[in-house]
Symmetry: C2
Subunit: 143 residues, 2 copies
DNA sequence: CTATCTCGTTATCAAATGACAACTAACGAG
DNA sequence: CTCGTTAGTTGTCATTTGATAACGAGATAG
């Protein structure tokens, strides 16, 4: 097993994944949302119900706490997300999508899902099951 | 086969891939290179010998031709890449890494490869072969 | 109680990025 | 040759993003 060759495949693969993600989401534009803000909304949308603190957001989105705070404030002003504080530790602020934000993201993701379904349209159920296994395998072992 | 469930797995998977890529490359800093410029260098490095025109770069990196031109000029001034024109169509400008740029990227990628190898260290050759198949399958069918 | 630490906010600044207009040069069709 | 098109450049501007300092309020250890 040539592990360096696998590395090259890995690099090419991540580039493909990135490209595909971009294709699927490039023209998803919510009002006056910047790319970074969209990233935050997507993160919140993906984490459905689990409460997320601002520090965690900051880590995951790879931005400083002050900048995260600023962008969240902007999103709050736009009515797309809301804060609520921990009942135990009052320093902690949790953040979630507002109903409005939830609705907007759900709408956006219907478009993305439609594109995804279109892309896999011609693939048989057996092959899809195989793809699902491949995704789980990779997700467990490498990513 | 629930295709919507596959969609959700797909979304989670792309997020994981993005995160992993970020982990592997976050502290790769070449001199005074901006993130966008790094993206260009990475693209050129990945495309080894195939000549790439500025318009193609512009498409793939999802930036306008004027901005691509500007960033390439900056990279040229830093001595990291170089242009040469098509002998047939003199409007076309091809772009490639300079020897210096090639060396810098090779060095950076040795670090990335080391991290990748570390991550797959405990995985047996049989499992790796399976992973390689999974990557090829996904790359062919979905991405 | 009082340091110290954590979580978050606010303000400010510089740099990076994106968008666009105006331009040159080369090609290609008629 | 002329006109329209393609490839790329230059310049300018507003916005976005990243970095950092200074601060406040709540937790926590000694």
């Amino acid at each position: 097993m040539d592990r360096s060759e696998l590395f090259r495949d890995f690099i090419a693969f991540t580039a493909s994944v990135l490209e595909t993600k971009h294709d699927f989401t490039k023209d998803i534009r919510i009002e006056g949302i910047t790319p970074v803000q969209y990233g935050i909304l997507e993160y919140l949308f993906a984490h459905r119900d689990e409460p997320v603190t601002i520090s965690e957001m900051s880590d995951c989105q790879h931005m400083s706490l002050p900048n995260t705070s600023r962008e969240l404030r902007k999103l709050g002003e736009k009515g797309l997300c809301e804060k609520f504080s921990d009942s135990e530790d009052k320093r902690k602020q949790y953040i979630r999508l507002s109903p409005e934000g939830q609705a907007r993201m759900a709408e956006a993701f219907r478009k993305v899902e439609a594109r995804f379904l279109e892309r896999i349209r011609g693939i048989s159920d057996e092959e899809l099951a195989e793809l699902a296994r491949a995704i789980r395998l990779l997700d467990g072992k490498v990513f």
